[in-house]
Symmetry: C2
Subunit: 447 residues, 2 copies
């Protein structure tokens, strides 16, 4: 297996660009089918949904079967080992602890100037649809990563959609996780048609105000097509990881970590940046032996992305490595250097930063507590990981007293007149002011 290997200082600019390039979603090829399916869901609702679930998942369902029933939760739980159930519970606990600290105070109000108060308050979004993918594997961990912050934020209606097997059943651990999260509204629907049903609503599935969660390129394209119609959250595409290591890192561990995100899919990217050429060469030597025993699907994924998006980059100084990270803006970053606590404050762009050799990607994916749904494709430059902040929104609050109004109004009139908005200005100039004394708040003309 070939692994791209760059001695950075000797690499021409064109070749440097190669490693910064991500798998781009070429919507043009699937745009037509995406729009067609969305349109049919909008027009024909459940009928179209049933049609496409049979077509794409091979499951024959009637509308009453779309929603998961009470007894299925019990059956699912019986199928799982106690160890797995305990692990899910423990992970949920950590995710809950982490996301609880993200909650801001429900309201702030403070004086801007005499008689002028302003602030903001938060309220949960009214409803959300969580897309839990299935296919190459199943993803109960995605469910708790999305559901826990939604619950902490106080979202009243949390809906889960996830693809069924051919026999119509839902992954057992996904159901168990939903039960642990006290979520009961689950539909066995998949892909573009699931996103369409959540956005437009059908007779069986009332629409939601926001859709969030990773998915195939079809799911991503459907969300992109619906931007401006429904809130579709952050862009979460193919997995990316970057290891920033120096000579103090253990090559075996680095090689193990190098493969974690790489096994996700052919479009994943796994990059090692180091100022130690020895480390880089050792890792490249170890990696092929590690993939020998993998199932052929995972092996092929790794081989494919090693050609296209992954590689080892050798720089001369740690500062260059830091610059590389900030330019790349990886989804997941692992820092394994002598003094990682001196390095991580210099990282400006990364979805998550994992510090030190005992904080590997896969521990963070499932168990530490921070969210594993993170911005990809360089969007870590402007987007944040999924958090409670995806599940509430702010309203600004202002309160101006009679005194405050008199003091402030001329500054607004100047702008309104200049910008050409006469009614904006007149509402201030001709405003009837209550002449009675006392607190203006209680001196209304009609009481």
């Amino acid at each position: 297996m070939d692994i791209n290997f760059f001695i950075w200082r000797n690499t021409p600019e064109e070749s440097k660009n190669f490693i910064f390039k991500r798998a781009e979603l070429d919507i043009s090829k699937i745009e037509k089918i995406v729009n067609q399916i969305l349109d049919e869901i909008k027009k024909r609702g459940d009928k179209a949904l049933i049609h496409y679930i049979e077509k794409f998942d091979g499951a024959k369902l009637n509308p009453e079967q779309l929603r998961v029933k009470e007894e299925e939760f019990k059956r699912a739980e019986e199928k799982l080992s106690n160890e797995l159930k305990e692990a899910i519970r423990k992970n949920i606990e950590n995710v809950r602890k982490f996301h609880a600290i993200q909650m801001p105070s429900p309201m702030k109000l403070f004086p801007v100037s005499l008689g002028v108060y302003a602030g903001e308050k938060i309220e949960p979004i009214p409803s959300v649809g969580l897309y839990i993918p299935r296919g190459k594997g199943s993803f109960p961990s995605v469910l708790y990563m999305l559901a826990i912050p939604a619950i902490i934020a106080g979202v009243e209606r949390i809906v889960i959609v996830t693809p069924p097997s051919r026999d119509g059943s839902i992954d057992a651990a996904t159901l168990f996780t939903a039960k642990e999260c006290t979520i009961k509204e689950i539909y066995r629907i998949s892909g573009i048609q699931a996103i369409g049903a959540l956005a437009y609503g059908t007779k069986t599935i009332p629409k939601v105000e926001k859709i969030i969660g990773p998915g195939s390129s079809y799911v991503t394209a459907a969300k992109r097509a619906l931007f401006g119609i429904v809130d579709v959250g952050l862009p979460a595409g193919p997995s990316e990881s970057l290891i920033l290591a120096d000579e103090t890192a253990n090559p075996k561990n680095v090689a193990l970590d190098f493969l974690i995100e790489s096994e996700h899919g052919p479009d994943s990217a796994s990059i090692l940046v180091t100022d130690s050429e020895d480390l880089g060469r050792e890792v490249v030597k170890i990696v092929p032996s590690l993939i020998e025993d993998l199932p052929s699907m995972r092996k092929n994924f790794i081989k494919e992305n090693m050609k296209k998006y992954s590689g080892v980059v050798i720089v001369e100084e740690l500062n260059e490595a830091i610059d590389f990270v900030n330019k790349y803006a990886p989804e997941h970053l692992s820092i394994v250097t002598k003094n990682p606590f001196d390095v991580f404050p210099l990282i400006k762009n990364a979805g998550e930063i994992l510090i030190g050799e005992y904080t590997p990607f896969s521990l963070a994916n499932f168990s530490i507590g921070p969210n594993a749904i993170l911005p990809t494709g360089g969007f870590a430059k402007t987007f944040s990981p999924v958090s409670v902040r995806d599940f509430f929104k702010y309203s600004s609050i202002s309160y101006v007293t009679k005194n405050g109004f008199e003091k402030l109004k001329d500054y607004a009139i100047q702008l309104a007149d200049y910008e050409g908005f006469p009614s904006h200005s007149t509402a201030l100039k001709k405003r009837k002011i209550c002449k009675k004394g006392g607190n203006d708040f209680y001196e209304r003309k009609r009481i």
Copy 2:
């Protein structure tokens, strides 16, 4: 002039839906031209930009003239009255005070369990393009509303784009405001082509990571088309205001306020919801006299949206009015009731909440401090007003010690194995652990 008037309890469901409907951006009609212009900007850069600025704004420019020059700032300042300049400075001060309180602490790190630390840190986004519209009026206030939070968040590169006049000049107060905000990178470009230049970059205009700001339906369609390629922020469409009033409100003031957002454009919406039929009828009586003296453009805008999107809704109880607001999710909400501080906590969905009779929309648009760029079209259900939070992003941080790793790893292995990710699991199972005692942080094999 006819104003829609609903006695809510007697209104059939179909008619109720009328008032909840907003001006929808029908992209299908302009999609082709939007994609064509974006494509040309991507391929031909400055040349296409110059072409479209001449075509749409009538300004003949060469690439060296796109960026505003130092001396233009001075000339602009000389054109403005001292009163306007003082008003701009005072408003900037309030906007700065308000947005400063939004900043969270730069980093949090806390213990999840023994040896497991997690938290998050914030960093400014690297660059942003602010779109300052021009056309029906000029919008220096939009500039300070967008620029101040970007500056407070610490964004290194803040770019302003705004349409030129036919002679190539930029609105004087917009330039003065930019100078007051210490922003120097300003380009005289407009519409779809401006958004394309910011997203793809040209020889003259380096690309930005995020584009934010209100604009015409063409600007909105261009941003929608670029979603997934560049961060385009919140959906901000036609203006909407809702007044929630009871019998204690002054009808003259309510009528004045009813026209504020209504004069923005034919697609604006202005709604009064009240439990006092008397108040509603008085307002409807006063409004026509108030619009007589308006310039014909503004008068036509008001007449147009009074037919399509605006109206008065009479409910029987205040609770119904609150339900109406939460269902409508207005951009701007004004509460003029006997006890507005008992009402506003019940509002779940509104971009901004203005409390009491001395806090009219136009005072908030320019002077109080909270941002005036707010989610429209019902998106106040899930989106927040523009804030410092649009100009920084979070990275999650995790640090696990050797002890923490040993305690936690089995919970991750369980999930990795179940979900079908062998390399995720192996990186934990086969991880080499340093056996030396002491702080694992300093006991590395190679030092």
